[in-house]
Amino acid sequence: MSTVSTARTIVRMPATAKRGEVIEIRTLVGHVMETGFRRAAAGGLVPRDIVRNFVCSYNGAEVFRAELHPAIAANPLVSFTVVAAESGSLEFRWSGDNGFAASASASLVVT
């Protein structure tokens, strides 16, 4: 039986923009965001397991970073803006507990 093991990500942003335009970027990552405060059926607490960091880099330079706490809802949505400065690549990286890592990238053509 095959299993789905990599965390799914979704990034929504325009493919093209005018120079200087402020674009909106919406990101979603599949993650249960276990708070560490839920009681396990067998007793005790289900240990915390969350996405802790999210970084957006634009042609290698960090333009937005987020530190997430257990209060962020499951399957975290993080939406922010970026100035379309030059054509290139935006990289998105998520990292968290238990070595969690996910990434995505998107191209932006700036005219």
Partner: protein
């Protein structure tokens, strides 16, 4: 008089076509916005997984597309009797692909039903009431009207007679399965109609049936028939 009217309405037909509202309409604007945009709807993550499984599990080698399929389940299968979409997928896996079935509420089965459901989004629910489905529809309808549990409530009492009223701060919807599988905020994850039905059973303090129980599939059939013509929203977001 009101009670007599209620009884009469219930015998004639479910909520009349113009009175019928999807659970979507009972949600807050923010929750609706979550569903409205695929990039905002967490269920999209499962749709993407389903698309990947569709290819990796070989479904694509036989099936060209699933448009309209989810709107027509549960269906009567010649060999198996009444089956819902989950059971139909597993029948395919076991008989045609010689593969192990996916467990109810497994990530794989939810991903596939989300992917298949997505391809019927916007299509009207279409369940036939004919000689084949009649006995199952009647069993499902009987279940909908049967009082059960420690609270001794029947589905109809809340969902035909008290919809729109507040229960623990949330409005009672009409119980039309327009969005399954759903991303339920309460679960913080995806689930099938049967998972939701089990929550209802727990809600009235009745013992839930096992997943895949014929009682649930009959009830699914009745609920879908009762929602005939309503547009599918799968995979939807619900509180």
């Amino acid at each position: 008089m009101k009670r007599l009217l209620a009884v009469l309405l219930v015998l004639i037909a479910p909520v009349q076509a113009d009175d019928r509202r999807s659970g979507y309409s009972f949600m807050t604007p923010e929750t609706r916005a979550m569903q409205d945009d695929d990039s905002s709807n967490p269920a999209s993550l499962w749709v993407l997984d389903g698309e990947a499984l569709w290819k990796s599990e070989g479904c694509a080698s036989c099936h060209k597309g699933m448009a309209g399929v989810a709107a027509r389940y549960p269906q009567v299968d010649a060999k198996q009797g009444l089956v819902n979409l989950e059971q139909r997928i597993n029948t395919c896996r076991v008989e045609k692909q010689k593969a192990a079935p996916f467990a109810y509420e497994s990530r794989e089965l939810l991903a596939l039903t989300a992917f298949i459901g997505r391809q019927s989004r916007g299509q009207p629910i279409d369940i036939k009431a004919d000689a084949k489905t009649k006995p199952f529809l009647e069993a499902g309808r009987a279940a909908f009207f049967r009082r059960q549990g420690q609270l001794n409530l029947a589905c109809t009492q809340c969902h035909d007679q008290q919809w729109g009223k507040s229960l623990v701060g949330n409005p009672i919807p009409q119980a039309h399965p327009t969005g399954y599988p759903i991303y339920r905020l309460e679960w913080q994850g995806m689930g099938s109609l049967q998972r939701r039905l089990r929550n209802c059973y727990v809600g009235v303090r009745a013992e839930p049936h096992a997943y895949g129980a014929k009682e649930y599939v009959e009830l699914e059939l009745y609920l879908m028939w009762r929602a005939n013509g309503m547009k599918l929203e799968a995979p939807a977001v619900r509180p």
